[in-house]
Symmetry: C2
Subunit: 385 residues, 2 copies
């Protein structure tokens, strides 16, 4: 491989980033945002066409003037495989440079045993490799658990032991990028969802416990080993209660179906999400009181995170949406009373996430495309052709 010159493909990579972040963007629009002269735009797109990274299609004309073109992924360009592993199923899609999804696939787990599930994923990777050959550049995997350097450290819903996720790509010579599902759904919100355009965003999602992430310019704060964003294990709660994570007083214990069951003096439910849905449907006084307590804990905690991070916006997903909806006034009161005074004038909005089930897959795709559209990756791809 020829050595990469400094910044040789910088502008080309910038153009590709635009295409990945705003599918369907036109050449003229890219040139405007990057402040490229029309000459440079012509040259850059020609070069990207030559190395099979982009194609152009006529854009619908917008009034007078010569019509511009829509920049699209080249039919022989690089792709990534995005995978979303969930408790009872997995989903996947091949994603091209312009963010278009191809070959969506999904499958329920026949067995929930780790080795069986991972084998299925490995086969999906192999099938993709067989179909796309060396166009497949990266596999990006969303997992419902704490991920650290491509190892799954703990996964309460899956009930798996610590695990090396790299085996998913063991059969092929393609790097793996594994991440927490809540983190990745946050990425999706920050790129194309409710937090689009926010410089600083906090994303939270309640399923069993609470997961989330801090996003700065659309990039998640993943921490030293990728385990950042475990907001559920901040001690916002009652210190006398021990959490399965090993710590005490975790926020996690106050805001999900397990908390509702405790308040209602019932045993911990097998499926806390379904249980929570059921309680939310009830109108009796004890249920309402339990919901109020949980929503209050949610509002206070979010306020604490807003104090700490000063985000432009907070996005919430999963159970947090119906929970808040079930007691909007309670939520608002808890949220605002937990804010520092100077935030109260215009508190950051707490918005429902727009990508629901698609979030982790979309986020995994987005982070993978970040890699593909980085200058070194573009230069390396171009050098191969």
């Amino acid at each position: 491989m020829t050595p990469v010159r400094r910044g040789q493909w910088q502008t080309a990579a910038d153009v590709l980033s635009q295409v990945a972040r705003q599918p369907g963007i036109t050449r003229a629009a890219v040139a405007r945002t990057l402040r490229l002269s029309t000459g440079s735009a012509t040259e850059v797109t020609a070069r990207l066409r030559d190395v099979h990274l982009l194609t152009e299609a006529p854009a619908p004309s917008q009034g007078r003037g010569r019509p511009t073109t829509v920049l699209q992924a080249h039919p022989e360009g690089p792709v990534v495989l995005a995978l979303d592993l969930r408790q009872s199923s997995w989903r996947g899609a091949v994603v091209a440079l312009d963010g278009t999804l191809q070959h969506p696939q999904s499958q329920r787990h026949r067995s929930r045993r780790a080795q069986v599930v991972l084998k299925n994923l490995r086969q999906a990777v192999e099938r993709t490799q067989a179909q796309y050959g060396d166009r497949l550049q990266l596999v990006s995997l969303a997992v419902p658990g704490t991920v650290r350097d491509n190892h799954l450290m703990q996964a309460p819903t899956l009930e798996w032991a610590e695990l090396d996720l790299a085996q998913v790509t063991a059969d092929v010579d393609v790097p793996l990028l594994a991440g927490n599902d809540a983190t990745l759904s946050g990425v999706a919100e920050a790129r194309t969802g409710a937090a689009a355009g926010a410089g600083t965003a906090v994303h939270l999602i309640i399923e069993v416990g609470i997961g989330g992430t801090l996003l700065i310019d659309g990039v998640p704060a993943q921490g030293a080993s990728g385990a950042g964003g475990e907001y559920g294990h901040m001690p916002f709660g009652d210190r006398s209660r021990t959490c399965p994570c090993g710590a005490r007083g975790c926020w996690d214990l106050e805001i999900d179906g397990r908390a509702l069951a405790r308040h209602l003096k019932q045993p911990t439910p097998d499926d806390p999400v379904a249980y929570a849905g059921e309680v939310l449907g009830r109108t009796d006084r004890p249920a309402r009181a339990a919901v109020t307590r949980v929503v209050t804990a949610l509002g206070y905690g979010i306020a604490g995170l807003v104090n700490a991070h000063d985000p432009d916006v907070v996005t919430i997903g999963g159970l947090a949406i119906p929970l808040r909806a079930a007691a909007e006034d309670t939520f608002r009161e808890a949220y605002e009373s937990g804010l520092m005074t100077f935030h109260r004038g215009s508190p950051p909005p707490v918005l429902p996430a727009t990508h629901q089930l698609d979030g982790p897959l979309r986020g995994a795709a987005a982070l993978a495309l970040d890699q593909l559209t980085s200058e070194p990756a573009v230069a390396a791809w171009a050098a191969q052709r």
Copy 2:
């Protein structure tokens, strides 16, 4: 001003960043880290010399081979004025591109009234402007309070009302960069202190209450309006207690001299820092018990932040250092028992900050130099010469 070409000064700016981040670095070392050929290094340094950004001095020889040169700030190059406003005094220094401090100055406040203090700062800026002329590019100000878009929102120790800090540079045509002192001391730690080299770091400093910041690659997470890092106002504490900030259950209320006084059933001290020092010197049982409670709250809170952010390292400053030292075992126990299990194998070290009083000034200088060594700023300076 001539329009800036894309990436025209990119490598030059990279070289300057190296010089700013590692004062005393040699030309050969820069070339190695940036993977520049010797020819490029020659050309880049020559260009930087031409536009008065760098000079070279012979470096002490290190074994065989032709000796290299140390890259230094040019005597007619750009400078910034770093200011550190404290409760009873202020300090300042002029900082050149290579991080060297010139004309250190400090002055106790004669009056603590905001207008008087700000007038003194304004005069310091004017004096610097008179001496350095248009070499002065930026004023960077550390303030002990919450800063939002160059406005001071609340400053408990100064007891000032909301205030526009831009008046500090009102007399001169130089931009201001105001920031929280705890945030800036975190920057100093992450750049040249105990957290040097850490990808993700959490910095905390106790004086009156607790301040801090999350640092990613040495860049503080400042939030939407610069008010990020108010970790003292996360609800780690007793929800029945109201904080002067307006929220309830703030961690702030559990970890400083005011907390010690409360545990000892004494009135809130006028100078909580001095009071804490005094309690730390006592050996009687009630004092020890109060310290234990505070240190426990400190350890738990830090563990929560580690769970949330997964940092490489935590740095602590101010009162946190003697507090922990007064009850090391208590601290360790609280810290480790607050961590999620998978962190306990190798918990992130909690290290004392190495920049003590210098921290905010150094951090303010570092962020200012970041701006000066950015590509657009370098290109703009070069265009003027």
